[in-house]
């Protein structure tokens, strides 16, 4: 079993991108890798060759992995359609509409999601999963699928992506670790700090302290890169348009640039790769 789950300290922490970058890193090494996100809340969707609707982020991660996107890569897609209303897309097909009065059978849906995950795991050498939002939403902990949900259901080893741009990054990492339920907390092995500008040595005392407090390992500090990626999250407003030309090629070239600058900045991709085997 070779899988790894990228969690984030918030929406927009950079999960989608770093997940894609890691897919690309493995694909460059010849590893057969597939992306996966159990559930996705987004209006930004992509239609696969098989006519299935999935989150845009997984489509790009698939291209980063050198694959054509499929419905299994994002088995649950939640599309907000109005106040308190959402369309549930299951394995690429409309499944039901939910609102305040009609909830979905979360357990049944989660089982379907896990089946997709198992299928990918059987087909590929590695499955790189992405979490959704923050895994530490106390009010949503019981209904979570993509984060703690996957950790509980399939014991997926996890790594936390923390965005430093808004500040409070150490609090975000420590707080997230604290609020992850104890029974799955040991699966959370490490963290990376994303979008850093400036001289990284200034962070060292803080990182040491967090490693000491949590037992997690810091796998690196990813430098800030101006990358025009498609926005998966409905909330972001980065106008993530990629210029003209071949959108896939540009995206993958962007990832290569990110990987190179991350490696140069000391991000330990090999160390992260070792987490796969756990």
């Amino acid at each position: 079993m070779k899988s790894l789950l990228f969690l984030g300290t918030s929406s927009g922490a950079g999960k989608t991108t770093l997940d894609a970058a890691f897919c690309r890193y493995l694909a460059r090494k010849g590893v057969k890798v597939a992306p996966f996100k159990a559930s996705n809340l987004s209006l930004n969707s992509y239609v696969t060759l098989g006519g299935e609707e999935i989150g845009m982020g997984q489509a790009f991660q698939a291209w980063a992995s050198g694959l054509e996107p499929t419905g299994d890569m994002n088995p649950v897609l939640l599309k907000p359609s109005g106040p308190g209303r959402m369309q549930v897309v299951l394995r690429g097909k409309p499944y039901m509409d939910i609102d305040r009065d009609s909830a979905m059978d979360r357990k049944a849906v989660m089982e379907k999601a896990c089946e997709s995950y198992d299928k990918l795991l059987a087909q590929y050498d590695a499955v790189i999963c992405e979490g959704s939002g923050s895994p530490a939403e106390l009010n949503l902990m019981d209904t979570d699928m993509a984060n703690v949900g996957m950790m509980r259901a399939r014991n997926v080893t996890s790594i936390l992506v923390a965005d430093i741009e808004r500040g409070g990054v150490f609090a975000a990492i420590y707080g997230t670790w604290m609020l992850i339920p104890e029974e799955v907390r040991p699966l959370l092995k490490g963290f990376v700090i994303n979008r850093f500008r400036g001289d990284a040595s200034i962070l060292a005392p803080g990182i040491e302290r967090i490693e000491e407090l949590t037992g997690m390992k810091c796998y690196g500090i990813v430098p800030y890169e101006v990358l025009k990626f498609p926005e998966e999250d409905s909330m972001s407003d980065n106008g993530g348009a990629i210029g003209n030309g071949d959108i896939h090629k540009e995206f993958v070239a962007n990832l290569d640039k990110l990987i190179d600058s991350a490696i140069e900045a000391g991000v330990d991709f090999e160390g992260i790769e070792k987490l796969l085997a756990q």
Partner: protein, 608 residues
């Protein structure tokens, strides 16, 4: 002293008059002030809690109590006035008056408390929380002052005494009903220069340039702590409450010892703290508990409440999580605040990040998104009009606009070079005469023919740079000198009044028809700005030029009809200040609706 004596006599005879709303200067200090003692019967009281000596003037040391609020408070007047009459003390009897003064101080003066709002991240909503809490407390009759020990911002304003402080502290002061905000409210202002250095302003005046290392290693342990302490103490002597604002997150454990903007400031002011977390991006519970738990115990115990801010959707959905958070931190969640749709000036240009347009009105105004954009609140009044403001970062944004605004910048030369590199400079030139173009401060300098910087004061490279050439003006940076001044002026062609302030290095040799004529009493008739009405070109150094309706309407009226149905005015052309005030009330309402007011008032009263 004779005049004062006569005035005090008149005041004593008139009795307690409360607010004097008919006075042209009202309110001279704060909203709701008592004007009975316009002239103080206790002058000079020489009590350092109310004033200070201005040393070595032409006639020796002079007691200044221009910042004194004590004499304008209802309790003071209600106690002192009858007491003066009872004892039969007459105006001019200083000994007699001082006895009553001491009694009044004992009875009515008490030192203020400090409450500090810290945030889990940099855009947690600290500034707006301080403004909202300030407005709530103003409505409850508290006299509050804002305070932020150290602010990093390019968005500054000039106080009535000619000091430069962060815009947002001015806004908070307005929320608290204060009419004369001063430098004590933001004693350290860092203005990033675009390289790795910042200009450090102390108590409203330039102090020196520092990089990150020297700031934290020299400035903070050196003068930094004392500056914070003396300014917050000054405010505590004069106000019921000092509402402090932290900077960034207080839990940056890698630089914890070097920080004077968060928990060290709280310690210096002995402040209780409220932690604000922005819920919008998720992870708010983690940010909250992580922040609290990373603080050392002696700092942690200052945090008396948590506010979950900016909740979109049903706040009740947060309730179970909030209860669990409170249980795990041992700190109550005192507010779950719904997202408030208010239009208030923004603190950081970072708030622009990723935002391309604002508004949906019919007139497209391209505001050039300069990399070091400064005082960008200049454009905020445009949002009250029928406009769509486009933050232009490419030539197409410029050539499709109905009007162009080139805002201020911390670095005119480097940002002009950016405009050339991006093709925006050429795009602006092609729009000359087709659409109205306004340059403010740095943008005005760019509209001229040349930027001469022989000593490299402004730009990376010393030398002369050709600029847009819309005007024939030439701007010089010949020495390291800064002009900081408040302006009041009339449009020369009689169009109406503008009000604002100038903050700039460099001087401009104007070769154009001037736009404004000053009306400040000591600068009456001085000319300012440039205009070519036939080409719809306007340039000025005055920040805030769009705040009053006169010039804003003139500028927008130049926009040619695009054949669309004329949009009805969204609101009457008003004073931007009233508009801000209305939005501050709206913001305070949103906070009040989501706050546990009893819990909050217990923190205010120091009972938590």
């Amino acid at each position: 002293m004779k005049t004062i004596k006569r005035r005090v006599e008149e005041e004593l005879a008139a009795g307690n008059i409360g607010c004097n709303r008919s006075c042209a200067y009202h309110p001279s200090h704060f909203r709701g002030q008592n004007c009975t003692f316009c002239y103080c019967p206790f002058y000079p009281c020489e009590d350092p809690r109310n004033g200070y000596f201005v040393k070595n003037t032409k006639i020796g040391d002079i007691w200044s109590c221009e910042d004194c609020l004590f004499i304008h408070r209802n309790e003071t007047v209600e106690f002192a006035l009858p007491r003066i009459k009872e004892k039969g003390v007459e105006a001019g009897d200083h000994e007699g008056m001082m006895e009553i003064f001491r009694e009044t101080m004992d009875r009515c003066w008490k030192p203020g408390r400090a409450i500090m709002v810290v945030g889990a991240t940099s855009d947690a909503g600290k500034s707006m929380t301080v403004a909202a809490l300030g407005r709530i407390l103003l409505r409850k009759g508290y006299l509050c002052a804002p305070f932020k020990s150290q602010n990093m911002s390019l968005n500054s304003r000039v106080t009535s005494k000619g000091h430069e402080i962060a815009m947002v502290q001015m806004l908070q002061a307005q929320a608290m009903g204060l009419t004369i905000p001063d430098y004590h409210m933001n004693p350290i202002l860092l203005k990033p220069k675009g390289n790795t250095e910042s200009q450090v302003m102390v108590e409203g005046k330039p102090f020196g340039d520092y990089d990150v290392q020297s700031y934290y290693n020299d400035f903070v342990p050196g003068p930094g702590r004392d500056i914070v302490k003396r300014n917050v103490d000054f405010l505590k002597d004069r106000f019921d409450l000092v509402l402090m604002e932290g900077a960034g997150s207080p839990a940056e454990i890698n630089i914890y010892d070097k920080d004077i903007a968060n928990m060290r400031a709280a310690e210096l002011a002995d402040a209780d703290c409220i932690l604000v977390v922005n819920v919008e991006w998720g992870g708010s519970f983690a940010y909250a508990i992580g922040t609290v738990e990373l603080l050392p115990p002696e700092d942690r115990k200052r945090i008396k409440g948590i506010i979950l801010n900016n909740v979109r959707g049903d706040p009740e959905k947060m309730r179970s999580g909030a209860d669990e958070l409170a249980r795990r931190c041992g700190i109550p969640v005192i507010g779950i605040i719904p997202h408030a749709d208010v239009q208030l000036p923004q603190e950081d240009s970072e708030s622009f990040r990723g935002v391309k347009t604002r508004g949906t009105g019919s007139k497209r105004i391209a505001v050039i998104k300069l990399p070091r954009i400064a005082n960008f609140t200049d454009i905020d009044p445009l949002y009250t009009e029928d406009t769509t403001v486009v933050f232009a970062d490419c030539p197409e944004d410029v050539t499709t606009a109905d009007a162009i605004v080139i805002p201020g910048t911390k670095n005119t030369v480097d940002d002009y070079m950016w405009m050339e590199e991006t093709g925006i400079a050429d795009a602006i030139k092609t729009m000359r005469g087709k659409v109205p173009i306004l340059g403010i401060c740095g943008g005005y300098q760019m509209m001229g023919a040349e930027l001469r910087d022989p000593n490299g004061i402004e730009g990376r490279e010393p030398g002369t740079h050709k600029a847009l050439g819309l005007f024939d003006n030439i701007t010089y940076w010949d020495r390291y000198e800064k002009r900081v001044v408040r302006d009041r002026a009339d449009m020369i062609d009689g169009g109406g009044e503008v009000e604002g302030y100038e903050i700039h290095m460099a001087k401009t040799e104007v070769k154009e028809k001037p736009l404004f004529s000053m009306t400040n009493h000591n600068r009456k008739g001085e000319l300012e700005g440039s205009v070519r009405e036939d080409e719809m070109l306007y340039g000025t150094y005055i920040h805030g030029v769009l705040d009053k309706p006169a010039f804003r309407k003139r500028f927008l009226s130049k926009i040619k009809s695009r054949g669309q149905v004329p949009a009805s005015e969204s609101m009457e052309a008003g004073d931007y200040n009233d508009f801000i005030d209305m939005n501050l009330d709206k913001l305070a309402d949103a906070f009040e609706s989501g706050m546990d007011m009893d819990a909050f008032m217990r923190i205010v009263e120091g009972k938590e």
